[in-house]
Symmetry: C2
Subunit: 394 residues, 2 copies
C-alpha cells in the first residue's frame, strides 16, 4: 500500500469513526464465504455475546399457525464460538440468491459487518449473497452488455401528482433507432418502484436473458403501485418516513395506469400497440395486472400473474372490479398472446388462484401455468420473471 | 387495516422471518426522533445488553494522533436503559445530514432497526437522518421538479472496458430540445459512481438549487474513478466483492477521461465546448480534476477542487503529472471562468492545499477559495457542491 492510500485509509477510519472497530477491531474476516461445495460459512466477531444465531431463507423451515392460515418460517440456527468468532456452515446450497441476518443475545436482524450487500423489503434491510452455477447466474452481473437503469419522474393527471418510476432500457437502446416493446412490471404490497430492480434483480435477469438470446430486447417499466405515495420512502417530499406496509387495491392504480403508458410511449421509442405491451406483477402487482389488463383489453397482449391476489376486499366500490366475468370474456375474446399464471405450492393465495384457474378452464380461456415449491416469496418471483420474459414479444 | 393487508403482513413477517422480532418483538419505537428543538432522540430495544453506545458525526470530537498526523474522531456516548429500551437525546443540532450507529456490548456499527436509511462508504453501511430548516433542506427531497438519475454503461477505449457511470439530467431535459452544460463530478478514494448520488445528495442539491433559480439546469456526470474496476462493488462481473479502499492516482483515469466526455457528448444534448463543461471532485476526485483540467486546457471552463490531493506519490511515472508548472501556466493563460478551491480547517490535506494556493498566488492565477470547519468529510463536500454549482454556466 502506498503512503497516500494509507493516509486516506487513516482519515477515512477517523472520520467515519463508527467504522473504526469494524475495520480495526478484528472484523477483517470473510463472511459469507462460499465454499467449493457451495456450502456457505458465516462468521461474526462478537466476543462478549452469550448466544449468536443465524436466520436465513436457506435454512430448514417450520410451519406456523396463524388466524390467516398456516405459513412457513425458517428456523434459526445456533452459531458456534471460538476465540470470539462465531461461525456456522450451511449445507451445500443450490444456485440462488439468499438472505440472512444474525441475532446477538436476542437482538435480532443484525447485519453482517463483512457484507456490504443489503436489500430493503418494506422497512427491513437484509444481507444477501448469490450462489452461482445455476439460477443464481441469471441474478448475477455477468460480462454481457448492460442496460441502463433510470429513476424517472412523470406526471399522473389521474392521481394529480408527480410520481417516480424505474425504467430499464436494454443495452443498445441509446445507439439504435429501433422501437422497443415494453414490459410493465408491478410490485407487491409494501414494495415500491425500487423493489423489482433491487430484490427482483430485474436488470441482471434481463441483461442475461437478452445476451443469451432467450429474451427479446425490451424496456421494463417499474412504476409505484401505492396511489397515496409519489415515490419510494425517502424519495418524495413527504420525507424520510419509516417505510410501512401500504398498497392500493381500491381501483385507483388501475384507473390511473394509462398515465404510465402515455408517459412511457411519449418519452421512449416504443412499439405503441398491443403486440408491443406486456404487464405482469407479483402479489398486489399481479392483482393490478389482472384488473388493468381486463379493464383495457386492447392494451396488453401479454399478462403475467405472479402469486397474484384475484379479488378485491368485500365492500370495495370501484368500477374497475365490477362485471369481472363480462370483462374477462371480452379480454379473452381478443386472444391475448399469453396469459401466464405462476404460484408456489404453499402460497397463502394458492386456493384463490386455483379457484381463478377453474373459472378460466370452465370458460376455455387459455393460459400457461407454472407451479413452484415454496410460498409467497421473492425467490419465486425472480423465477417467474425469468420464465415469463422469454415468452414475450416473439 | 383490512383483511388482505393483514394477511399480506402476516405472510411478509413469516417469509422474512429475520424481520420477525424487529416487527413483532417490540422494535415498534421511533428512532431517530427529531424533537421540536432539533435535538434528536435515539432509541434501541436490547433488553439483554449490558452496555449500548451511540456514535455519530454530531457528537463531540477528540483528536487522535497517528503516524500520518492528527485527526479528529467522534466520542461515543453511553445510552441509558429503561425497561429494555436504550435511549440518548442529543443537543439541538444545526440543519445537516448526520450519520450514526450503535455499539452493543462492544459489537460496533449496529444499524438502527427503526431507520431504513443507510449509505455505504467503502464497505461500511451507516444510518443517516436529516435536520431540516437550513442546509439540510438542500439535501432533502422537496416538492420541486425532479431530475432523472440513470446508471449508464459506456465504452472506454483507453481503458479497454465497459464502465458504469451515474448521470443526472435535470427536470425538463426529456421534454426540451435545449442543449445543456455538463458538470463532471468525481468521487474520492474508496468511492465509486454511486458515492456522489448517495452520500453526496447530488440529485437533491441540484433539484433544489435549480428550482430556486440559484443554479442553471445542468447535466451532472459521475463516473467511476478506479481504473481497475468497471463499476461499483456488486455491479460488475467481478462479482459481489467486499468493497475495499482502492483508487487510481497513476495517470490512467486522467488519460482515459476524454472517453467519458466523448460518450456524454454523443449521447446527451450537451453544449460541446469549453463554456459548457465543468469538472470537480472530492479528495482523489479533486486531484483528478486538477490534473485533467490542466492536461486538457481547452476542455473545462470551470474547475472545482474539493479537499483535493495535489501531487502524486513520489515515483509515479506518468506524462499526466510531468511539467505541472508549464501546464498550469497554459491552463490559466486561457482564463478559465472559475477555478474553485474548498478545504476544511482540520483537513489532513490543508497544508498541501496551502502550498498549492501559494503557487497560484505567486503566479497571479485567479481562483476562489472557501475554508470551512471540519476535516476530510462528506459534510464539507456537500457544502462545496452547494456553493460551487450556483457559480457554473452563468
Amino acid at each position: 500500500m502506498n503512503k497516500i492510500l494509507l493516509v486516506f485509509l487513516a482519515v477515512f477510519i477517523c472520520n467515519v469513526s463508527m467504522a473504526q472497530q469494524a475495520l480495526w477491531g478484528g472484523q477483517e474476516i470473510t463472511s459469507p464465504e462460499i465454499n467449493p461445495d457451495n456450502s456457505v460459512t458465516f462468521r461474526l466477531i462478537a466476543p462478549k455475546a452469550v448466544k449468536v444465531q443465524l436466520t436465513g431463507d436457506f435454512l430448514k423451515t417450520q410451519k406456523v399457525e396463524t388466524d390467516f392460515g398456516t405459513f412457513e418460517t425458517t428456523l434459526p440456527v445456533d452459531m458456534i464460538e471460538k476465540d470470539g468468532v462465531w461461525e456456522f456452515t450451511s449445507e451445500p446450497l443450490a444456485s440462488e440468491l439468499y438472505s440472512y441476518s444474525f441475532t446477538i443475545d436476542d437482538f435480532a436482524n443484525v447485519k453482517d459487518p463483512n457484507n456490504a450487500y443489503v436489500a430493503r423489503d418494506v422497512s427491513t434491510l437484509t444481507n444477501y449473497f448469490i450462489i452461482d452455477g445455476g439460477k443464481g447466474d441469471l441474478y448475477s452481473v455477468q460480462d454481457v452488455p448492460h442496460g441502463t437503469v433510470s429513476k424517472v419522474w412523470y406526471n399522473s393527471p389521474s392521481l394529480g401528482m408527480e410520481r417516480r418510476m424505474t425504467v430499464y432500457t436494454p443495452a443498445g437502446y441509446e445507439e439504435s433507432k429501433t422501437k422497443y416493446p415494453v414490459l410493465y412490471l408491478l410490485h407487491g404490497m409494501g414494495g415500491d418502484e425500487e423493489a423489482w430492480i433491487a430484490t427482483g434483480r430485474t436488470a441482471q435477469i434481463l441483461d442475461n436473458l437478452i445476451a443469451q438470446g432467450k429474451a427479446e430486447p425490451m424496456i421494463v417499466v417499474m412504476p409505484n403501485g401505492n396511489a397515496k405515495h409519489q415515490a419510494a420512502p425517502g424519495e418524495a417530499a413527504e420525507g424520510m418516513i419509516k417505510p410501512y406496509m401500504s398498497g392500493s387495491m381500491d381501483g385507483t392504480i388501475e384507473t390511473a395506469f394509462p398515465d404510465v403508458v402515455d408517459f412511457v410511449e411519449s418519452h421512449y421509442r416504443t412499439i405503441k400497440k398491443k403486440s408491443g405491451r406486456a404487464i405482469a406483477g407479483l402479489s398486489m402487482g399481479g392483482f393490478h395486472s389482472l384488473h388493468i389488463s381486463k379493464q383495457y383489453p386492447d392494451m396488453f397482449n401479454y399478462v403475467g400473474l405472479f402469486s397474484a391476489a384475484v379479488l378485491p376486499n368485500e365492500g370495495i366500490e370501484s368500477e374497475i372490479y365490477a362485471n369481472m366475468d363480462e370483462k374477462l370474456a371480452i379480454q379473452f375474446s381478443k386472444n391475448p398472446a399469453l396469459y401466464w399464471i405462476g404460484i408456489g405450492k404453499t402460497d397463502f393465495l394458492y386456493q384463490s388462484i386455483s379457484d381463478y384457474r377453474k373459472k378460466l378452464d370452465e370458460n376455455k380461456y387459455e393460459y400457461e401455468y407454472l407451479e413452484t415449491d415454496g410460498g409467497h416469496i421473492w425467490r419465486n418471483w425472480r423465477i417467474y420473471l425469468s420464465e415469463f420474459a422469454p415468452e414475450l414479444f416473439k
